[in-house]
């Protein structure tokens, strides 16, 4: 007798637990796919599901090495996740690589001024695929409290962001949650953001 596997149509079936990714998850509106799932499109096409790919994704997700891209206050909190109390080395981010060529994750921590936007994009371009971007803090996600001439209104205007971590600055635990959710996203097989989000493609 053939065992029938339950059909996996939602990201939750692939192991993603982040609420924001999957909202709404319960209640009346939970019947259909959420906004992010709609954005991705048909999941079977998008997600890498062969055994080899799963293994690769597992390895990639468990050893994301961030790039030292501290800009402002969030950089100080980013330093504290490296320190011994909120140690992200136990989540796989063993070292912060100074060279973008050797880094996997660009944690944009801090406000991005228009003058810095150029170098930011250059650093992003120098990173080798697959690469992920975390917008850490309110300023990177959406310019935070700085709705003015000098600050880029959200770093997702120039790079494709995988995960946003709100806060001003976010607690170290919040940043770690961001990294953990990103790891889940990777291990579930979701492609990095530049594959399904078109941002500043030249």
């Amino acid at each position: 007798m053939a065992r029938s596997r339950p059909k996996k149509t939602r990201l939750a079936d692939y192991g993603l637990n982040s609420e924001r990714l999957l909202w709404p998850r319960s209640g009346a509106a939970a019947k259909g796919p959420g906004a992010f799932e709609n954005e991705l499109g048909p999941l079977e096409d998008k997600l890498m599901l062969t055994t080899v790919e799963k293994a690769v994704r597992w390895a990639q997700g468990s050893s994301i090495w961030p790039d030292t891209f501290g800009l402002a206050c969030c950089a100080i909190e980013m330093m504290s996740i490296v320190s011994s109390r909120y140690d992200i080395a136990r989540f796989g981010a063993e070292v912060f690589r100074s060279s973008p060529r050797q880094a996997d994750l660009l944690i944009v921590s801090g406000r991005v001024s228009h003058k810095m936007a150029g170098p930011l994009r250059q650093i992003y371009d120098q990173m080798l695929e697959p690469k992920w971007v975390m917008a850490m803090g309110a300023c990177a996600s959406s310019a935070g409290m700085f709705n003015n001439y000098a600050v880029l209104q959200g770093v997702d205007k120039i790079v494709a962001v995988d995960i946003y971590v709100p806060g001003c600055p976010p607690r170290p635990e919040a940043v770690i949650e961001g990294i953990v959710r990103l790891q889940e996203k990777i291990k579930a097989g979701l492609p990095p953001a530049y594959e399904y989000r078109e941002v500043a493609i030249t």
Binding site: H114, K115, A143, F146, N147, N148, Y149, A150, V151, Q153
Partner: protein, 181 residues
């Protein structure tokens, strides 16, 4: 501390425990050298340009509170429409000086200029004025004559406009419920 000998002195004001010396723009460098050499103000703390465009048009009214509360015996102290005094020109450039000696005396030197009028540079008097004047040029568009390197410092090199001027918009994105008027 008597500032009568300062060259080009137009007015001396005392307010909130601070002394402000309003000086003729043309004799600014002389006045600064006098203050540095005769009075010992060797430390230039800050150069701040201020734009007074639209000063007094916002209609500030009402009672200003004190630590003890409202004075019921002062008639007309509520709802009194009080406009600030108009300023002589659009821009003022303020130099905050400090003397490194007992008592930490401070003084503010103020010059008033119009849009486009240059101010003599005090880089020769205090080398620290270099970046302060560059920032004043970048942010307010006040030109300093005699500055060796008057280029933009905070904004991009090819930025147009001087952001801290009152007629320069705040910028950013339109946001619902931002609370801005």
């Amino acid at each position: 501390m008597s500032y009568d000998g300062v060259p080009g002195l137009l007015e001396t004001r005392e307010a909130f425990g601070e002394t402000t010396l309003v000086v003729e723009t043309a004799r600014l460098v002389e006045a600064c050298e006098h203050l540095r050499d005769e009075h010992g103000f060797a430390f230039l703390a800050d150069i701040t340009p201020t734009d007074y465009l639209g000063w007094g048009t916002r209609g500030v009214a009402g009672y200003i509170g004190t630590a003890d509360g409202r004075d019921l015996n002062a008639p007309g102290s509520q709802g009194l429409h009080k406009l600030p005094e108009p300023k002589p020109t659009r821009f003022s450039v303020n130099y905050h000086l400090l003397a490194l000696r007992q008592g930490a005396p401070r003084v503010r030197v103020q010059v008033w200029v119009e849009d486009g009028e240059p101010v003599p540079s005090v880089v020769g008097v205090w080398p620290t004025a270099d970046w302060h004047e560059r920032e004043a040029w970048d942010m307010m568009g006040i030109r300093f004559d005699g500055h060796p390197n008057l280029v933009r410092i905070l904004m991009d090199d090819d930025w147009e406009g001087h952001p801290l001027r009152k007629d320069y918009p705040l910028g950013g994105e339109p946001v619902r419920f931002s609370g801005e008027e």
